[in-house]
């Protein structure tokens, strides 16, 4: 199986603070991995660093075939990051946001429309300003953007937070579908029951390092 993520002794700093203090992690294509750990353990930094947003300052780090120590830009369009913050323009409507971010990622209008339809944003919500949405609705918009980009690596940071049960089921379905199609998914979550059922493998982040957890036999 092709290795999508390969980290050896990878260090990433937030300012002078070693948020990741030597991480070893290998993830193969098509895997769904639950990333667990207490607050401040380095989960968000791990996802952001894999997306190329935080530089690895030591160790080996290869993602989607790119050595991130050398180039942490070129793999980015192939990565979808659902961050804790939406990354949306409050002043624009739902449709404008999805359209802009889809175009900016190089995908086209049809992808944007399809993604909005899947997430139930094509009706009345499409014309509403993002500023007026609830946090769960914003999540859906961000998810639509991610879906429209068709990423090969999904990095989901607390994806279930703020979503109602229907939306959670929808999200889990989309993740499974993407993984079946060959995408790799990392889910950082505290919702161990739901995310644990989704992921075949669990890793624990603590004190800036990552350890594999015994697989509790899941999907």
């Amino acid at each position: 199986m092709e290795t999508v993520i390969h980290l050896r002794g990878a260090v990433a700093l937030l300012g002078r603070f070693p948020a990741l203090a030597g991480v070893d992690l290998d993830v193969a294509a098509g895997e769904i991995v639950l990333v667990r750990g207490p607050n401040g353990a380095g989960k968000t930094t791990l996802l952001r660093a894999l997306a190329g947003l935080v530089p690895f300052t030591a160790g080996d780090a290869t993602v989607l075939g790119h050595d991130l120590r050398r180039d942490r830009v070129r793999h980015r369009p192939r990565v979808g990051l659902l961050s804790f913050h939406g990354g949306l323009y409050d002043e624009l409507t739902v449709a404008d946001n999805v359209w802009f971010w889809t175009r900016a990622a190089g995908a086209d209008q049809a992808d944007a429309e399809a993604a909005m339809a899947v997430l139930g944003l094509d009706g009345r919500l499409a014309g509403v300003d993002v500023a007026k949405l609830s946090s769960g609705q914003r999540r859906r918009v961000a998810l639509a953007v991610l879906l429209a980009r068709r990423p090969e690596l999904w990095l989901l940071d607390e994806p279930h937070a703020g979503l109602d049960n229907d939306a959670r089921d929808l999200l889990d379905g989309l993740v499974r579908e993407a993984a079946t199609a060959g995408a790799t998914v990392l889910v950082a979550s505290h919702e161990l029951e739901r995310a644990g059922a989704l992921a075949a493998r669990q890793v624990v982040v603590s004190g800036g390092i990552v350890r594999d957890e015994e697989t509790p036999g899941a999907a």
């Binding site: 952001r48 997306a51 190329g52 947003l53 935080v54 980015r76 369009p77 990565v79 990051l81 961050s83 804790f84 913050h85 939406g86 990354g87 949306l88 323009y89 409050d90 002043e91 624009l92 404008d96 802009f100 971010w101 175009r103 900016a104 990622a105 190089g106 300003d129 953007v145």
Partner: protein, 224 residues
């Protein structure tokens, strides 16, 4: 790159159109500044009419500061910077797009201010001065928009951005203020031939800032 620039410019103008900050706040402020100059300088003695070109550009620069800050605020939303870095857009295209959007807003503002100056200061460009006025406004706008976008991203992400940006940007705009004011003076005085020389200076300024801005925007955006 041009496609990226148009995409960004379109988005910035759309945000502006929907939030109406430029039309509801900056444009009225421009008129307030025009009024304040009249209070500070005695209109009866003709100082206003003589100083009109300079006052016009001071008002433009002050309002430009607000527009630049506003444009930087749009990008400072939670996670927006990260999201932009994850796109396939070229940084140079993003820079040009923001310059285009700020430039378009500035041109509209300058048109409004020119009307204000003509009406309130009783000073207007001579008939043969209009081509110079238009050319000066276009070039000076490019200068202000390019420098403003570059310094805007330079100060972005800092908690002290709003106070630091004027200190960094305003001294840098001094040559633009001098050049554009002299060119306008020539156009208002009916001797446009004296003014064209200054367009060369404005052109060099715009070129320097567009080139360095296009190069610097990517590296500066990368910094968290």
């Amino acid at each position: 790159m041009l496609r990226d620039a148009l995409l960004i410019a379109g988005r910035d103008l759309r945000v502006e159109w929907r939030s109406r900050v430029a039309t509801n706040q900056v444009a009225p402020l421009a008129l307030v500044i025009v009024m304040l100059f009249a209070f500070a300088l005695d209109p009866a003695r003709g100082i206003l009419a003589r100083a009109a070109p300079g006052l016009f550009w001071v008002a433009v620069v002050l309002c430009a500061l607000l527009i630049v800050q506003r444009a930087a605020t749009v990008e400072s939303g939670d996670g927006v910077r990260d999201a932009l870095r994850l796109t396939a857009l070229s940084p140079a295209g993003m820079f040009l797009g923001k310059v285009l959007a700020i430039g378009a807003e500035l041109l509209a503002l300058e048109a409004l201010l020119l009307v204000g100056v003509i009406v309130l200061y009783n000073a207007a460009p001579s008939t043969e001065g209009w081509p110079l006025v238009v050319a000066t406004a276009a070039l000076a706008t490019a200068c202000i928009a390019a420098a403003g976008t570059l310094y805007g991203v330079l100060a972005s992400g800092l908690r002290v951005r709003d106070t630091l940006l004027p200190l960094l940007l305003l001294p840098v705009l001094a040559p633009v203020l001098i050049g554009a004011t002299r060119a306008f003076e020539a156009a208002f005085a009916g001797v446009p031939a004296d003014g064209w020389l200054w367009l060369g200076l404005l052109g060099v300024f715009a070129l320097v800032y567009i080139v360095i801005g296009a190069l610097a925007y990517g590296p500066l955006l990368e910094e968290t």
